[in-house]
Structures are given as structure tokens and as C-alpha cells.
């Protein structure tokens, strides 16, 4: 048997694709109980893979928020990685390899493994009680359930216990080294250096701690097991050559990190300090956690009593002359609606980070969806436009955050960033940018009282001037009641309200002239079919379009970053294609937006299953559109 019998399929190249017969990418999925350390295992393996120079994409697939009792199906945590010697864009449609640390992990993940794929089981965890707990009626290893897969059973539990013995750690601690044992094994399978993991363990435990020592020993033992044991006949270790990346310094980054750093970068480029006011909510909380550790960058963080207070506190900070930022998800975004309106009315900068999750209501907090486009663009009382920008990948969050800060400060407006749970948690190799490569956009505060009027506007941007309380001679009042278009005093005049409403529109619409024109990711600028996406569907759409083009089809990929206002050339661009297919993880929100703006008869590829879009689905939809 050979692990590589049918390689590369997991990356979504559909069955008829002959182009990738050589081993150029592999999809591995680790799965186990919430307590099994699967996320750490996945993260470390990603780290090693990245250091080896492969391209990779990951998909941490968390269980629901609460830790479930051991061994239950709903307590299963999984981590999927797709890595290869060519550029990898998604975490893969179907795993080539599944490592299942208990029966529940097998139960939940069985149906996703590619037929013919490899399953590595911890046979030590397949006791009758656990099998039942996992809601198997009979033992899946013997009842034929696994017959379309290659299965390797190893009593990993016993191995881990054995290895840990000399260090005198508790049985519980010993069993918890299973994840590192597995990491050793897969490191052997894919010829990975384990140095970074050993260092990580040493850092975490200190070199004297017996638990740390047991962990290192387990790591080595897993590796040795691969080298020396019987499975060396069943699995041939493979080494995927490094991808030719652009030169630079790289790291793994997830979306929450890149976004947080991007906010810091944006504040620096704007020459501002910032206040992040947030209330914890899945999957948005990491932004708060990360920025809470970055006080040295002039960032103050504030865990407010709720999302309304968070948004209001951010506005208060902006009124004070720092950059107000607030971050949330789903129900928390809904709660900020009223306060965002106040930001629009008072024309204060504000960055609202929306890490989307599945809904409505509480929905599926740990699952991804792109269904907040409507609320972002249209979800406020009255006529209340704001710019909306979406990030397409973990690393892209950095630039999107900078752009959001730029627009918020330049145009004195709330801006909403759309990220999502997948982007926030997934890690990808990222060429670390240098701050010196970014053009600063320092924000000037007005200090000159001469002729100052609160709602006087810059003729280009239509933005009003920002004034810091504390500045002598510039005292003024703002508020949510309609303001006189010059003085900012309360005005109930009909004509003034019309003028202010028109101006608010014109200001936001004018941003279309200050953002890049829409480009085409892959393919020509006209043709039979444009597949339009936004946000985290970038990977699958891009790969699918690549694949279809490789098969000779006329299809291009357009990925929209600026959702509101839309890029000026987008209408012309879209109308240069015979057909437009919008692929998104909602019931057709971008589709509706584009139809309303351009009257194009676009079609939708819509999915709201809480899982990332699969390449195969996009390919199928392209075929349908092309009639092939």
C-alpha cells in the first residue's frame, strides 16, 4: 500500500483532471476529543510544514463552544491542513489522510475522507464504551464501515503511556502526550523537521519539567515508530519540495492576528493612538485578546459591558481624538446598529470589525458564514451609508485593516470590515510586510480656530475637520439630531436635512474614486463567465477557476474587496462577461447588491452549511453556467 496512491485529490481537483498526477499536495485531517490537543497538533504541524517551505492552508474546525463530555461526537475537535509543492489556496475539499484519536473523531469525520484515503486510528481508544459513546452501533473497524479506506491501527494510547513512564508523570498527563506522538509520526511521514516543536515545548514547560520531557519523548517516539515499525511497509514517507515563494521573511498568520496587527499598522500610518472597545463573542474575541497585549503600540483596550457600550466607547474615544475601534460578530453586530448611526451622524472615524458567523440569532457561533453583507451595507435605520471592506484570507486582513483605518480617518466615517470565523482562525504562510513599504496617511487635527465651522467640509473628501477636545478656541458640540450643514448646531430645517443627507451620500460614494479599480484575479477581463466572490471564498473560487481554465474554459475570477462603495469600473467589467456567477456563503447577498446596482442577471452559487465552500462545488457550478 502506498499513501500517495491517489495524491492531490483532496485539493479539489476533480476526478477528470489529469494535470496533477504527481504528488504535489496532500490534505491531512487530525481529529480527536476536545481535550486531545488536536488544535495544537495541527498548529505545530502547520508550523513545521511552513518552515519546510511548502504552501499550505488550514481549517481549524472547532466544536461548539462548551467543552463536551469526553468521547462524544459533539466534543470532537478537528484540524485540517492542505500543503503542497505548488501554491495551495484552500484547506482542501477531502482529506487524503485522517488521524482519528477516538471513535467519536472517526464517526464525525468519516464521511469527509476521500475514498481510498488513509485512516490512522488510535486502537487504544476503541474500547466498547467509547465506541458506543460515539454512537456507533457496532465496531466500525470490523463491521465493514471502513472498507473503502486504507486503515492503519496503532495503539497510540499505549505508546504514549509507555513513553511517558520514565518521567513519572500522571497517567492523565501521559495520555495527553498522544498529540505529540502523532505529530512525530506525521512528521516522519512528510519528512518534517521537529525542531520548532521541541523548542515550543521547551519554552512552554521549561527544560526541567517532567511533563515537558514526556512530551518531547512522545514526539520523538512517534517519529521513531514510523521509521522502525511495521508501518514503514505500508506508508512510504514522502517529501514535498518547497514552493517557490516570493523572496521575503515568512510566518504563519491567522486572520485575527493579521487583522489586529493591521489595525496597529493603520493607527501608526495615521499617526494616531487607538482605543479598542469590545465585548467578547465567538469568533471575534481574539482581536480583543491580541490587542490587549499590544499596549506598547499606543493601543488601549476596554472590555465593555456589552456591544452597545463597546461601540459607544469607541465613538467616545474618536471624539477624544484617538481612533475608536470595536469588534464583534453576529448578534453583537446587530446591537451596534444604533451607535454606528450616531457615528454616521456625527461623522467621527470608527472601525467596526465584523467577524461573521452563521445565523440568524445565536446561530452557529463556531461556524463560518458570509451573511452579514446586508446588515453591513443596509442594516441601519434611515439613509445611513458607510464603507464596507471584506478581507479574503488571513494575511489579507492586514491590508484590509489598514485600508479601513485610512478610509475612516480620511473621510470621518464609520467603516465596517467583514472577516469571518474561518479567516479569523485559519493560518496561512504570510510574507511579513515591512512598515516602511506602506505610505503613511497621517491624520491632521484642526487646531486653528480662525473661521472654524464644525460641519465645514474638505471640498475633495467632503469630510469635516477633526478637532481634539483640549484645543483652545475650538470648543463645539455634536450630536445625533440633524446638524446645520455649516455650524453643526441642531437644525430642523427641511432643506438642511436634504442637503446633509445628500452630502453624506456623496461623501461615501466619492470614496469610489479613492479605492483601486476592480481587477481580475485569474483570467481575462471579458469572456464567457466571471465568477465573482468576496471574502473567504477566495481560495476555492480561485482554485476552481484555475482548474477550469487549465481545462480550457473561458472563465475569470473577480474578487471584490470594496463592497461599499463598489469599485467604479466594476459595472463595465462585469458587463464584459456573458454571464456572471456570484459564489458566496449566504442566500445571495452580494448577488442582490450587484443586481440592484448594475441590473445584471447574475446567478448565485449559494451555500450556508457553516463549512467552507468546496472547490468541486464551484467547478460544478462553473460547468453548469458554461453548459459543459
Amino acid at each position: 500500500m502506498n499513501l500517495q496512491a491517489n495524491p492531490g485529490r483532496g485539493d479539489g481537483s476533480s476526478a477528470e483532471a489529469g494535470a496533477q498526477a504527481d504528488v504535489d499536495s496532500v490534505v491531512v485531517r487530525f481529529a480527536g476529543d476536545s481535550g486531545d490537543g488536536v488544535q495544537l497538533l495541527g498548529h505545530q504541524f502547520s508550523q513545521e510544514t511552513a518552515l519546510a517551505g511548502n504552501s499550505l492552508a488550514t481549517f481549524p474546525d472547532f466544536p461548539a463552544e462548551i467543552r463536551a463530555p469526553t468521547g462524544t461526537t459533539y466534543g470532537v475537535s478537528a484540524f485540517q491542513i492542505n500543503f503542497g509543492s505548488r501554491v495551495v489556496k484552500t484547506a482542501g475539499d477531502q482529506p487524503d489522510v485522517l488521524v482519528a484519536l477516538n471513535p467519536a473523531a472517526l464517526k464525525v469525520n468519516l464521511n469527509v475522507v476521500r475514498p481510498g484515503g488513509l485512516i490512522i486510528l488510535d486502537s487504544g481508544a476503541f474500547r466498547e464504551k467509547e465506541i458506543k459513546r460515539a454512537t456507533f452501533d457496532t465496531d466500525p473497524r470490523t463491521d465493514g464501515s471502513l472498507k473503502q479506506y486504507r486503515v492503519i491501527e496503532i495503539d497510540i494510547s499505549a505508546q504514549a503511556l509507555e513513553v511517558a513512564k520514565p518521567f513519572g508523570v500522571s497517567q492523565k498527563e501521559a495520555l495527553r502526550t498522544k498529540n505529540l506522538w502523532v505529530l512525530g509520526l506525521v512528521s516522519w511521514m512528510y519528512d518534517r523537521e521537529m525542531k520548532s516543536t521541541s523548542e515550543y515545548i521547551a519554552r512552554k514547560f521549561g527544560s526541567e519539567d517532567p511533563v515537558g520531557q514526556a512530551n518531547v519523548a512522545a514526539l520523538r517516539a512517534g517519529h521513531a515508530y514510523g521509521e522502525t515499525h511495521e508501518i514503514s511497509g505500508e506508508i512510504t514517507p514522502v517529501s514535498l519540495p518547497a514552493v517557490k515563494f516570493e523572496p521575503g521573511t515568512y510566518r504563519l498568520v491567522n486572520g485575527a492576528e493579521a487583522l489586529s496587527w493591521g489595525l496597529v499598522a493603520g493607527a501608526q500610518l495615521a499617526n494616531l493612538e487607538a482605543v479598542l472597545a469590545s465585548y467578547p463573542i465567538t469568533p471575534s474575541s481574539p482581536v480583543l485578546h491580541i490587542l490587549a497585549k499590544l499596549k506598547q503600540f499606543g493601543i488601549t483596550t476596554f472590555q465593555a459591558e456589552d456591544e452597545i457600550a463597546a461601540c459607544c466607547a469607541a465613538l467616545g474615544a474618536s471624539f477624544g481624538g484617538k481612533l475608536g475601534i470595536t469588534a464583534s460578530s453576529g448578534p453583537g453586530i446587530a446591537l451596534k446598529t444604533e451607535a454606528i448611526g450616531l457615528g454616521i451622524a456625527t461623522e467621527l472615524p470608527l472601525v467596526v470589525v465584523n467577524t461573521q458567523r452563521a445565523g440568524p440569532s445565536t446561530g452557529l457561533p463556531t461556524k463560518t458564514e458570509q451573511s452579514d453583507l446586508f446588515i453591513a451595507v443596509w442594516g441601519r435605520n434611515a439613509d445611513a451609508p458607510i464603507p464596507v471592506i471584506a478581507s479574503r484570507s488571513p494575511g489579507d486582513c492586514f491590508d484590509v485593516a489598514i485600508e479601513a483605518v485610512r478610509l475612516a480617518t480620511k473621510y470621518m466615517t464609520p467603516v465596517m470590515i467583514l472577516s469571518d470565523g474561518y479567516i479569523a482562525n485559519a493560518a496561512e504562510p504570510w510574507r511579513i510586510p515591512s512598515m516602511k513599504d506602506y505610505k503613511p496617511f497621517p491624520k491632521a487635527f484642526r487646531t486653528d480656530p480662525e473661521g472654524y465651522q464644525v460641519f465645514q467640509r474638505d471640498p475633495d473628501t467632503l469630510a469635516r475637520a477633526w478637532v481634539k477636545p483640549g484645543t483652545p478656541g475650538m470648543m463645539h458640540r455634536i450630536g445625533g439630531i440633524e446638524r446645520d450643514s455649516l455650524t453643526g448646531n441642531i437644525s430642523y430645517e427641511a432643506a438642511n436635512h436634504q442637503k446633509m443627507t445628500d452630502t453624506r451620500f456623496a461623501k461615501i460614494n466619492g470614496i469610489a474614486n479613492d479605492i483601486p479599480e476592480q481587477d481580475v484575479e485569474v483570467g481575462e477581463t471579458s469572456g464567457k463567465l466571471a465568477v465573482v466572490g468576496w471574502g473567504s471564498t477566495f481560495g476555492p473560487i480561485n482554485r476552481a477557476v484555475h482548474n477550469m481554465r487549465a481545462r480550457g474554459h473561458s472563465v475569470s475570477h473577480i474578487h471584490i474587496r470594496h463592497i461599499w462603495p463598489l469599485p467604479r469600473n466594476l459595472e463595465t467589467l462585469l458587463k464584459s462577461f456573458d454571464k456572471v456567477l456570484v459564489a458566496e456563503m449566504n442566500q445571495g447577498q452580494m448577488l442582490t447588491l450587484l443586481k440592484s446596482q448594475y441590473l445584471i442577471d447574475a446567478k448565485g452559487l449559494l451555500q450556508v452549511s457553516g463549512q467552507p465552500l468546496k472547490i468541486a462545488r464551484v467547478e460544478a457550478a462553473i460547468k453548469e453556467q458554461l453548459g459543459v
Binding site: 508550523q47 511552513a50 518552515l51 516570493e246 523572496p247 521573511t249 515568512y250 510566518r251 504563519l252 496587527w261 496597529v264 501608526q268 493612538e273 482605543v275 472597545a277 499590544l294 499596549k295 506598547q296 503600540f297 499606543g298 488601549t300 476596554f302 465593555a304 459591558e305 452597545i308 457600550a309 459607544c312 466607547a313 469607541a314 465613538l315 467616545g316 474615544a317 471624539f319 477624544g320 484617538k322 475608536g324 444604533e338 451607535a339 448611526g341 450616531l342 510574507r431 511579513i432 515591512s434 512598515m435 516602511k436 487646531t447 477636545p469 483640549g470 484645543t471 483652545p472 478656541g473 475650538m474 470648543m475 463645539h476 458640540r477 455634536i478 450630536g479 445625533g480 439630531i481 441642531i490
Partner: protein
């Protein structure tokens, strides 16, 4: 900051904006506005370093009438806005103006947290026991039986006690004043201003249109002297025109009694002395209601502690003292690799 030495002492007028004041003629808000402007002048405040933040309500229009910086926000959320502002700009002098509906109906949670956190702002709650701006619905401080458009047969829920709510929220400074008592209000404002933390001031305010005379039981001329107790730290809790009434502690019931000096053998020694640091006393005093007891006014409770903004700043400063962050370095920390 950019403060020039004041060329001269400012007057109340210097704190008035150019906007015409738009409350109903006879509204208690006018007197409070005057008292605030006068106090700020007396305190030597600078308009450019002073910010008034408010919610929504008649009372919350206040900032427009001040020549300071001002932010008229949304209903109930002024404490949150003020907290963000204070975190961003701890050096500013922040005043929050709110009403009984704004602060205690929609905004109760933010009031709770701004007090609990002890953010250094001065909170003026104009309590007229009614929703003025929306034309007279009952509020959380309205008394049982209040007839209003939303309670045509009279309200049935028992009112909130603003000061006791503040106490339950761990407020460290609690005071009470009356719209028309400019001098006493000024004293209270001065103390609130001096307190570095959240200073909570309930101001009894007459809404002449929708709840006229709601406080006549202790504000009306004929009752004022006999039913108002202006407390002073270290002074006995004595009131009445003849200074013959006082509060005595009943240790059996752990409660206060209103007694008359010279009657039933009561002497001045029996009268409790005000201790503004005593939380139990604060509970007892804020719970008293006329006519059986006096309405207690002045600084009822003041037991300062570090403010939230100061503590946050200290943490921020300690980190920043080690030098500014280097983003390029931060992003390159941990596992990285080179491609060349």
C-alpha cells in the same frame, strides 16, 4: 496639551454657548444650567478642557448650552461614550448629564458599570420622575400610582431609588441636590469635581409641564425647612427650621428614627453625626422619604478609591515605559522563515 495661562478668571457667562436655551419656560433645567456654569467658573475650569456628554431627553440637551466641548449622544449610552472618551483622554474634565429615563430606564446598565468601574467623570442625573421629552410617560423613578399616557390607571411598579441604585453599583461618591438651590448645588458640584472617580449627583428637577410639583412634599416653601436635611461630614444630622429635628440610630431595628430634640428626652447627643465614608449610613440616609423623614441632600457618601481610567493608564504607561512597540519586530517574532 495646549493650555495657555488664562488671561483672566472666567465667569458663568463664559461657559454659556451662543445657542438659545430651549426648555419650557419655568423648567428646572434652567436653574441647573446656571448653577453648573457658575460652578465651573468658580472652580477655575477651562472650557477647552471640559467636555459635557449626554444621552437623550430634555435634560440631555444640556451640552448645547455650554461653551465647552460637548457630545449629545444616544438614549442611555452617555456613560459608555464618556468612558471611551476618558480612556482616550484621561486629562479631560468630563461631565455627564442625564435624566431619570436616560440613566435609569434604558441606560441603567451603563450607569451601573461606569459607577462600578469608578471612571473619573461627574454624573448629573436630573430626576424629574417623568419622561419630559417624549411628553410625559412615567419613568423608573415615578411614584406608584403615577398617571401618565402609558399608565392611564396609574403605574403599579415601585420606583427605583437613584442613589441606592448607585450604592448597589458600588459608587464611591453619591450626592443629591435640588434644581433651585444654586448655592448648595455649587458646593456639591465642587465636591464631585474634586473626587477622582465616578461622582454621582442626583438633582431633583421640576418638570413644570408633565410633572409639576412632584417634589412639593419637600421642595415647596412651606415644607423646605422641615423636610430637607443638608448633610455635612462630621456634623450632626439635624434639620428643621428650629434645628430641632434630627436622626437617631435605632440599634434594635438597624434603622433611623426622626426625632425632635427636647422631646421624649432626646438630646443633641442622641443625634447621629454624618460620616460620608460610612456605606451603611449612606444606605440609611438615601432610603429616607418625606413626609415621615427628611429628604437628605448634600454629599451623602464619599469614599474615594483609584479610578478605572487611572488604573488603566498606569498599566498602559508601565508597558509603554519599556519603549514603544516595533511592529516590524512584533510580526517577526516567533517562528519565521526566509525565502530568497
Amino acid at each position: 496639551m495646549n493650555v495657555q495661562t488664562p488671561p483672566q478668571k472666567l465667569t458663568a457667562k463664559d461657559f454659556a454657548s451662543d445657542q438659545e436655551v430651549r426648555w419650557c419656560p419655568g423648567c428646572g433645567d434652567y436653574a441647573i444650567l446656571k448653577a453648573v456654569q457658575t460652578s465651573l467658573a468658580n472652580l477655575g475650569a477651562r472650557p477647552e478642557n471640559t467636555v459635557f456628554v449626554s444621552g437623550i431627553g430634555c435634560s440631555s440637551r444640556f451640552p448645547y448650552y455650554m461653551s465647552t466641548y460637548g457630545f449629545h449622544t444616544i438614549h442611555g449610552r452617555a456613560p459608555a461614550v464618556a468612558t471611551g472618551l476618558k480612556l482616550a483622554r484621561p486629562e479631560l474634565d468630563i461631565w455627564l448629564v442625564t435624566g431619570d429615563g436616560d440613566a435609569l430606564s434604558i441606560g441603567g446598565n451603563h450607569l451601573f458599570h461606569v459607577l462600578r468601574r469608578n471612571v473619573d467623570i461627574n454624573i448629573l442625573l436630573f430626576n424629574n420622575e417623568i419622561y419630559g421629552l417624549t411628553k410625559g410617560q412615567y419613568s423608573p423613578t415615578s411614584r406608584v400610582g403615577q398617571k401618565s399616557p402609558s399608565t392611564p390607571l396609574g403605574s403599579v411598579d415601585s420606583p427605583a431609588n437613584a442613589c441606592q441604585f448607585a450604592l448597589g453599583s458600588n459608587a464611591r461618591f453619591i450626592a443629591r441636590g435640588i434644581d433651585i438651590q444654586a448655592k448648595q448645588l455649587g458646593e456639591v458640584f465642587a465636591r464631585a469635581h474634586a473626587n477622582k472617580g465616578a461622582s454621582f449627583v442626583e438633582i431633583i428637577q421640576n418638570c413644570i409641564v408633565y410633572n409639576d410639583g412632584a417634589f412639593d412634599d419637600f421642595v415647596a416653601k412651606e415644607h423646605a425647612a422641615e423636610r430637607q436635611l443638608h448633610v455635612v461630614h462630621g456634623q450632626p444630622l439635624i434639620y428643621g427650621k428650629a434645628k430641632d429635628k434630627g436622626l437617631r440610630f435605632n440599634v434594635a431595628t438597624l434603622s433611623l428614627e426622626a426625632v425632635t430634640i427636647g422631646q421624649d428626652g432626646v438630646t443633641e447627643k442622641d443625634i447621629l453625626v454624618h460620616d460620608e465614608k460610612n456605606r451603611t449610613l449612606a444606605l440609611l440616609l438615601t432610603g429616607l422619604k418625606p413626609p415621615a423623614f427628611p429628604e437628605v441632600l448634600g454629599v451623602i457618601y464619599c469614599d474615594p478609591t483609584t479610578s478605572y481610567d487611572a488604573a488603566v493608564k498606569a498599566q498602559d504607561d508601565a508597558v509603554r515605559a519599556k519603549g514603544p512597540g516595533d511592529l516590524d519586530k512584533l510580526m517577526r517574532a516567533g517562528n519565521t522563515w526566509q525565502v530568497s
